[in-house]
C-alpha cells in the first residue's frame, strides 16, 4: 500500500505555483524525509497530504486510495505542524481530553505514560512548557491516536540538540512498536541518513529526487580523477554534479546497478546521503526519479472519498 500517492499534483496561490507537476508514491512502512530549501514547497505538499489545502491541479490520495482530507484519511493520519501549535491556555490534561473527544481512537494510557516518562507535568499550562516539551506533547497527542501515517512539518526547527534527539527517538520508537509510516520535512541534512529510508527532494516546487535511500546510495558514485579528462567521459557517464579543481575533479555520477567500474585512472567512492542531496540541490536541472510504480501512469488515481 502507498501511504501517499500523488499524480501531477500542483498548488498555486494566485499566480505563484508553490508545487507543480508532483507525481510520487510513498510506500508504507517507511520513514520518508522530504527535503529541500526553504520555499521549495515542502509545507505545501504536506498540507495537501493532510487535507489542509486543496489541490489546484492533479490528485493526491492517502493510505491506499483514500481522498486526502476525507474522514477516512483524517482518521488514519496524525499531523504535527511547524512550530507545533498548541492551545497555550490549556494544560496537557486538557489537551489529552480534547484529542480524545476529537478522534475515534485515542490511547489515553499510552499518552499518560509517555508524558510521565518525559517528565511533562499534566497540570501545567502549555504556554509554560519549554519548546522541547511542547514539541513532545504535540507528538504524544499525535502518536496516541495510533495513526497509520505520521506527518511532521519541520517540528524540530526550534529545538535544541538534546530535545531534537529525544523527539526523533520517540518517533523511531513508535515506528519500531507500531509500524507507523512517517513523512517528515526537514531542511537539515545531517540527521537524514540514520533516520530516513526513503527520500524525496523538492526544489522550486518540483520533485527532483524520489526513492529508497538504499537504492539511491547504491546507484550513485563519486568519481575522482583528472579534470582534464572530464570531457572525454561526459557522454559515457551520467554526471549529476561536477566539482572541478584545477587538476582534480569530483563527479557525482549515476550508475546502473551492474557497472561500477570507474574509467581507468579514476577512483570510485560510495556517496553519503547528505552529499547526494546537496549535489542535486545544486543542480536544479538534474533529477533521479523512479520509474512508474503503478501499472498505468496515465489513468487517474481512482480515489475513494
Amino acid at each position: 500500500m502507498n501511504v501517499v500517492e500523488t499524480h501531477r499534483l500542483g498548488k498555486s496561490y494566485g499566480r505563484t505555483w508553490a508545487l507543480r507537476d508532483c507525481t510520487l508514491a510513498i510506500p508504507a512502512g517507511h520513514v520518508t524525509a522530504l527535503v529541500g530549501p526553504n520555499g521549495a514547497g515542502k509545507t505545501t505538499l504536506l498540507n495537501l497530504v493532510v487535507g489542509l489545502a486543496v489541490p489546484t491541479e492533479g490528485e493526491v490520495a492517502v493510505l491506499g486510495g483514500r481522498a486526502a482530507g476525507s474522514p477516512a484519511a483524517l482518521d488514519g493520519i496524525a499531523f504535527v505542524a511547524q512550530d507545533t501549535p498548541l492551545y497555550r491556555s490549556l494544560t496537557a490534561d486538557d489537551l489529552l481530553h480534547m484529542t480524545r473527544n476529537l478522534n475515534r481512537h485515542f490511547d489515553r494510557s499510552y499518552a499518560r505514560g509517555r508524558l510521565t516518562e518525559l517528565g511533562i507535568p499534566l497540570r501545567r499550562r502549555a504556554a509554560k512548557l519549554s519548546g522541547g516539551q511542547q514539541a513532545q506533547l504535540a507528538l504524544t497527542l499525535a502518536l496516541a491516536r495510533h495513526p497509520r501515517l505520521l506527518v511532521l512539518d519541520e517540528p524540530m526547527a526550534m529545538l535544541d540538540p538534546l530535545a531534537r534527539h529525544d523527539f526523533i527517538a520517540m518517533v523511531m520508537t513508535a515506528v519500531a512498536d507500531d509500524g507507523v509510516s512517517v513523512v517528515f520535512s526537514s531542511h537539515v541534512l545531517t540527521e537524514l541518513e540514520r533516520v530516513a529510508d526513503h527520500l524525496i527532494l523538492l526544489s522550486g516546487g518540483r520533485v527532483q529526487v524520489a526513492g529508497e535511500v538504499d537504492d539511491l546510495l547504491a546507484s550513485h558514485r563519486v568519481l575522482t580523477g583528472p579534470t582534464a579528462e572530464i570531457d572525454r567521459y561526459v557522454d559515457r557517464l551520467d554526471i549529476v554534479h561536477a566539482r572541478r579543481g584545477a587538476a582534480q575533479a569530483n563527479l557525482l555520477v549515476r550508475t546502473s546497478a551492474t557497472t561500477d567500474a570507474a574509467p581507468p585512472g579514476w577512483r570510485a567512492h560510495p556517496v553519503g546521503l547528505e552529499e547526494l542531496a546537496l549535489a542535486y540541490l545544486r543542480e536544479p536541472g538534474a533529477a533521479a526519479l523512479p520509474g512508474p510504480t503503478r501499472g498505468d501512469n496515465i489513468e487517474p488515481l481512482g480515489v475513494t472519498p
Binding site: 517507511h30 520513514v31 505514560g113 527517538a169 520508537t173 512498536d177 540514520r194 529510508d197 561500477d260 570510485a268
Partner: protein, 165 residues
C-alpha cells in the same frame, strides 16, 4: 514493514529483563553507513570477548530509543550479522549471538602475510597497478563470498566494504 516485537510476550515496558552486554554508539562523522557501524561494533565486541555465544544483542526498540535511528537500520545490521552466521534471531525473543569470530593464530597469520606479499610481487611484475590489484581483489572476494553462501557455510569474515580505498 512490521518489526517483530522482541520480548513482547514475556517482559513489559520498564521491567529490567536481561540487559545486553554491549551498548551501541554512533559516529556520525565517520562516513560509514549506520548499519555497518552497528555490525562492526558487534564484531569488535566479539573479538574482544565482550560478547559470547548465547548473549542477546540489544533489542531493536532499545537501540532505536537510545540512538534515535531508524529501526530498519538496526534490522538491516542484525540481518547482516545473521548472514555472516554471527547471530540468529529467535521469534518473539530477540537476536542472539551464535558464533565467535574465528581467531586466526599468530603463526598462521605470518604465513598468510608472506603468501600475500609473494602474490603482490607477482601481480606487480605482471603490470597490475595498485588500483588494479584492489579491483581484482574485490572481484575475487565477491566470487568467493557467493560460492560460500551457496555452499551454506557462514563464517565471520570481518568488515566488507565495496571499493576499498
Amino acid at each position: 514493514m512490521q518489526i517483530e516485537k522482541e520480548n513482547s510476550g514475556t517482559t513489559g515496558d520498564g521491567q529490567a529483563a536481561a540487559v545486553s552486554p554491549i551498548d551501541f554508539r554512533l559516529d556520525p562523522s565517520s562516513g560509514v553507513p549506520t548499519y555497518l557501524q552497528l555490525v562492526q561494533q558487534v564484531e569488535h565486541a566479539l573479538r574482544l570477548g565482550y560478547l559470547m555465544p548465547g548473549d542477546q544483542l540489544p533489542k531493536i526498540r532499545d537501540v532505536v530509543a537510545s540512538l534515535a535511528i531508524n529501526p530498519n537500520t538496526v534490522f538491516k545490521a542484525y540481518r547482516e550479522l545473521e548472514t555472516k552466521g554471527l547471530a540468529a534471531g529467535r521469534p518473539g525473543q530477540g537476536t542472539f549471538v551464535r558464533a565467535t569470530l574465528s581467531q586466526v593464530a599468530l603463526p598462521e597469520l605470518t604465513k598468510l602475510r608472506r603468501t600475500l606479499l609473494g602474490w603482490l610481487t607477482t601481480a606487480d611484475k605482471a603490470g597490475l597497478d595498485e588500483d588494479g590489484v584492489i579491483a581484482l581483489f574485490n572481484s575475487v572476494m565477491r566470487d568467493f563470498r557467493e560460492s560460500r553462501a551457496t555452499s551454506g557455510r557462514g563464517r565471520g569474515s570481518g568488515s566488507d566494504r565495496e571499493g576499498v580505498a
